[in-house]
Amino acid sequence: MATVVELRGVHKSFQRRLRSSTFAGLLRDLARPRRETVTALAGIDLAVEAGEMVAYAGPNGAGKSTTIKLLAGLLAPDSGTVRSLGVDPVRDRVRYVGKIGVVFGQRTELWWDHPVAATFAWRKTVWNIPDDVYRRSLAFARELLGLDPFWNATARELSLGQRMRADLALALVGEPQILFLDEPTIGLDVLVKQEVLGAISTLSRERAVTVMITSHDMADLEQLHARIVLLKEGAIAVDGSFDDLRRRMGDRRRLVLETDSPAAPALPGAMHLASQEMRHEYAFDAIATPIPKLLAAAAVRAHLVDVETHRAPIEDMIADLYRDWRGA
């Protein structure tokens, strides 16, 4: 498969001015301003193949949005090279941005005082989309994201979920080769989130569109069965599948025991998390402590009424990982 996105040794840092809280400090800062360098990206190397779906994640300030802006041609790197669809996104911006779709979850591309339909017609003109491509991609996007109920409503009348669906559909018109989605599920309720994620999945599966998506919500990203690229302080800390990530983090699981006593039995190799009446929840690593062994230990220590095991939520695993990073 062809490489469509390539970042090599990309560095990006920003200057932040330091502020004093005392009057004397303020005067001192006035005469001699103090600045610190915030490193957003510290030598990123990344290649994305055509048709791939990449979940780009990391804690706040890890450099996710900076990468999306570099790839959307909005920002130039301090050093290193950024190539997407074979071109430099900043130098060849006009030619390049016609082939990509960009969605910023916290902003909208819709004309605020016009019906949703009007923004689509405007996009056709500005993006110079041929009639047949427009008709085909619009029909697909309208159906995929269910725009018909609010097609003629003005953007200001839309709910957040409707707006995001319309924004995503707008990015699909013209059949972009790559879709950059910066936190497209932020603030959405569970149902709309499912719809949006479903649409992104369908898009990747049926149209082989390359998708790079950032989100704080790891469960969302895991649901997309995407390649996960996890950033830590501007560098790639993890690059692989979610299964790889789980293996790397250990086979973290949860055990829920229902017993005849409110006292949680102590289990070797498992950490007691919480109890609710007679239900006791534990965290354990299934590789270090195999499930049969743990259950045998539980059976000896308590009268078991019911037993459940399941994988630890990805959010908990990532939170542990972030905590480890912060502590490191």
């Binding site: 920003f14 200057q15 932040r16 001015r17 502020r19 915030v38 957003a40 949005s65 900076t66 802006k69 959307a72 041609g73 909005l74 920002l75 130039a76 301090d78 900043v90 911006r93 006009v94 030619r95 390049y96 941005v97 016609g98 960009v102 910023f104 916290q106 902003r107 591309e109 004309w111 005082d113 016009h114 009007a118 017609a121 405007w122 003109t125 500005v126 993006w127 110079n128």
Partner: protein, 276 residues
């Protein structure tokens, strides 16, 4: 290039018509208000001129011409949409990103986006009618050469105002929050010059045709076109010349600012940064 620009202006015009048809009561009220506001601004100087028969060396019809010229400039500026008036807001709020993800040169996006030709035609019509009436009253030989010079000066005045607003608006590249409203503040500084500047002391007049070029939006070009007493032979070319100089300066500053924007982006790390 021209065809593509016209195509995008057409897209703006279609949105403009659609909005007017959809919100007709509001659109009528808006247009009427704008018409009254512009007409009202003309009344005081015209009354003064009528009362005294002239303002300085300007007869009543010349004053009307100057005011009509100013109204025509301001109506075209309004029709050009948000770009000059709200450039600093666009930069300060990180909205330039929306323009940069459009597959068009940035100048074309800024020039065509928000084009609203149908909101301001009453004021433009008023301006053109009054210019025709007053030039007839003054027996101006309005041949093709004079009309061409008039059109050229109108375009130059529009360019001067745009360049002035862009020059100030560029401040937002370096101080996105502090200078977020500088474009609209600058428009207040330069706009609506209602009286001929001839009686104004020479140093102040010099300021008003250079640093704060209000005088170039109606007074100086009208004076040159109507050959008011004291006008030099080349005065009709002063506004176009100023438009070139100010335009070049604004372009230089904008490109410098854009280069800065490419380095810093609209992001949260600057202490005086963009809104999120």
């Amino acid at each position: 290039m021209v065809a593509e620009t016209l195509r995008l202006l057409g897209a703006g015009a279609r949105l403009n018509v659609a909005r007017i048809l959809r919100t007709r009561e509001q659109a009528i009220a808006h247009t009427l208000t704008d018409f009254i506001w512009h007409s009202g601004a003309m009344v005081a100087p015209i009354l003064v001129a009528v009362r005294f028969g002239h303002i300085g060396s300007w007869p009543v019809a010349a004053v009307v011409f100057m005011l009509a010229y100013g109204a025509a400039v301001s109506s075209v500026m309004d029709a050009l949409g948000d770009s000059p008036w709200y450039l600093s807001q666009r930069i300060g709020r990180g909205q330039l990103d929306h323009s940069l993800i459009q597959p068009q040169p940035l100048w074309r996006t800024l020039f065509t986006e928000g084009f609203t030709p149908f909101d301001f035609w009453p004021v433009l019509t008023l301006g053109l009618v009054l210019m025709a009436w007053s030039s007839a009253q003054l027996h101006v030989p309005a041949g093709p050469g004079w009309l061409g010079l008039l059109a050229f000066n109108l375009l130059a005045s529009i360019a001067v105002e745009t360049a002035f607003l862009y020059t100030w608006g560029c401040l937002a590249f370096w101080a996105p929050r502090g200078a977020e409203e500088v474009s609209s503040a600058a428009s207040g500084l330069i706009g609506d010059l209602s009286f001929p500047l001839d009686p104004v002391p020479r140093p102040l007049r010099a300021v008003l045709v250079t640093a704060v070029p209000s005088g170039l939006l109606s007074w100086l070009p009208s004076r040159a076109l109507l050959h008011i007493a004291g006008t030099g032979a080349l005065d009709a070319w002063l506004t176009p010349l100023a438009a070139i100089v100010l335009g070049a300066f604004a372009l230089f500053l904008f490109r410098l600012g854009l280069r800065h924007y490419r380095r810093t982006g609209s992001m949260r790390y600057t202490d005086h940064g963009h809104r999120r």
